[in-house]
Symmetry: C2
Subunit: 309 residues, 2 copies
């Protein structure tokens, strides 16, 4: 596999829409996504159920997803309490967001940077206390890395500073996250290069982009250029960030897979089964609009995906 | 100006929709586009009115657009007859399409390659017979360069061959056109590099991309990487190719301008006036859906376009 697609629809998608998808439907969707060859799925977030009732069944989904062979199971955790709940069900990866904009951090997580970093150190300790085989990969996601709907411009120096602090506090890796849909390809390129110089390329391999202004796949091109190998996306483009008003729309998994496969980059994903997973999603959420062009346009006549070659 | 946007909505957009926009509305739209700083507009096509009644007023639009200072006025011509009609009203640029897929050429223009090339030689003679100041730039557009809805894959060797023949027949320049929405960034990059090697970089400076599978701006990234400096787009993404079923959707001017300006590339375009031109279009065609994310999302807080700096 050349590029790993991390499907975040069950977390970032479902947390942003009002209908609550039934747990059985979520399991069927996750199963269908994995059957299509999606290598990693972020199945939920360990937030309090009263805050995000859409994701109240995350623990059950981790257990379900862990039963699927060759699937990496990821979850989001907002804090130490969430991480403890996550570790109990053994996901392969846990991601904690840290908003580079501290104003956004206070509104989103109700925490200062110092408080988030304290939690990260405690989570690191909790992970290290586990038997070696049970330790998940621990990522710190740099939210609002490319700009903030409240503060506006977020200085790159602040992004680099927080990336260093996340690693120092115990994250295995950092991720760049365009929470607000402000990212330009020039930023994706520059920030990635500078973090690689600062912390080493193994400390940043993935990017989480939104399509708020239609720039999602252009930003993916920049990410590929600087050697990132994991790209988050959401089936049907559902989701976005509920705490960043006006910022909605993940990049669409279906169009992203087409982009990569048409460039000769293997994703391991089968288009027919991917479109089948989209039908599972559409049937479970009939009132939620799904984005993406490739499912409607179909594959070009004579198209040969890289994965099939 | 770093990148020149050529707005093709009045031609490629309006030819693909069934409502016929009133000539006065088209003039107001063209005026608004030019006021926003769009440097080049393809105002129409010299096709028989019975074939495309939507574009029957092209000659009048050329005259109107020529009266606007600092605006390059482009038109499409399908053949010698169309070119003669175009030359009479003195556009700055005429473009003749040649479908690299000969099957598509027969269905689209009802002509073989040899017949199109004969016309190009005759058009070259007609241009050369004009006083030097009246001679338009003459471009041959390589339609279906990236694949054909009828033939499927179009070999790159055929694209290079036809590029050479267009120049030999008298075109000043060739353009790559993703008529069918099949293009991948790898193709845009490779084909451009190879045509540059074959004919010189000055013989290929522009690209016409569709967004059929959501890949438009990703393909623009590839075009920028290999030094192309003119990008066609359509306000609201209206249009596509009426002769390639299932292939619809130009790249959206509004999102393209945001991409370029956010990367520090100057387009000379003012966003407020661009959104005003979109309102002029929307008011004239209330039933036509307009695409694009940036107009709805608005500019990011604190955003500074390159052109304004």
């Amino acid at each position: 596999m050349d590029i790993e697609i991390s499907e975040v629809g069950p977390r970032d998608g479902l947390q942003s829409i009002s209908p609550i998808m039934a747990t059985a439907d979520k399991k069927a969707w996750i199963t269908a996504l994995a059957a299509a060859g999606i290598p990693e799925i972020e199945v939920g977030s360990f937030v309090p159920a009263k805050l995000l009732p859409q994701l109240a069944d995350t623990a059950e989904l981790v257990t379900h997803a862990r039963s699927i062979p060759n699937l990496a199971v990821a979850v989001l955790v907002p804090n130490l309490r969430g991480a403890e709940n996550a570790l109990a069900v053994k996901p392969h990866k846990i991601t904690i967001p840290l908003s580079v904009s501290e104003t956004h951090s206070l509104r989103n997580l109700r925490r200062t940077h110092a408080q988030v970093l304290d939690d990260i150190r405690a989570i690191r300790d909790a992970i290290d206390a586990l038997p070696e085989g049970d330790r998940p990969h621990f990522e710190g996601s740099l939210s609002t890395a490319f700009g903030c709907t409240i503060e506006g411009e977020v200085p790159e120096s602040k992004v680099l500073e927080m990336a260093g602090k996340l690693i120092a506090a115990g994250c295995d890796e950092v991720g760049l996250s365009d929470t607000t849909g402000f990212a330009s390809p020039a930023q994706v390129r520059d920030y990635t290069r500078h973090i690689h110089e600062l912390l080493g390329p193994e400390r940043l391999t993935g990017v989480h982009l939104h399509n708020t202004r239609g720039q999602g796949l252009a930003n993916v091109m920049a990410a590929l250029e600087v050697g990132l190998t994991t790209v988050d996306s959401s089936m049907g483009g559902i989701g976005g960030c509920p705490f960043a008003p006006g910022a909605s729309g993940n990049i669409v998994t279906e169009d992203l897979v087409f982009l990569l496969e048409s460039m000769g980059l293997k994703t391991g994903i089968n288009f027919e089964k991917l479109f089948e997973a989209r039908r599972v999603l559409a049937a479970a959420l009939p009132d939620v609009p799904l984005y993406g062009f490739t499912p409607d346009a179909g594959l070009p006549k004579g198209f040969r995906p890289a994965t099939a070659q």
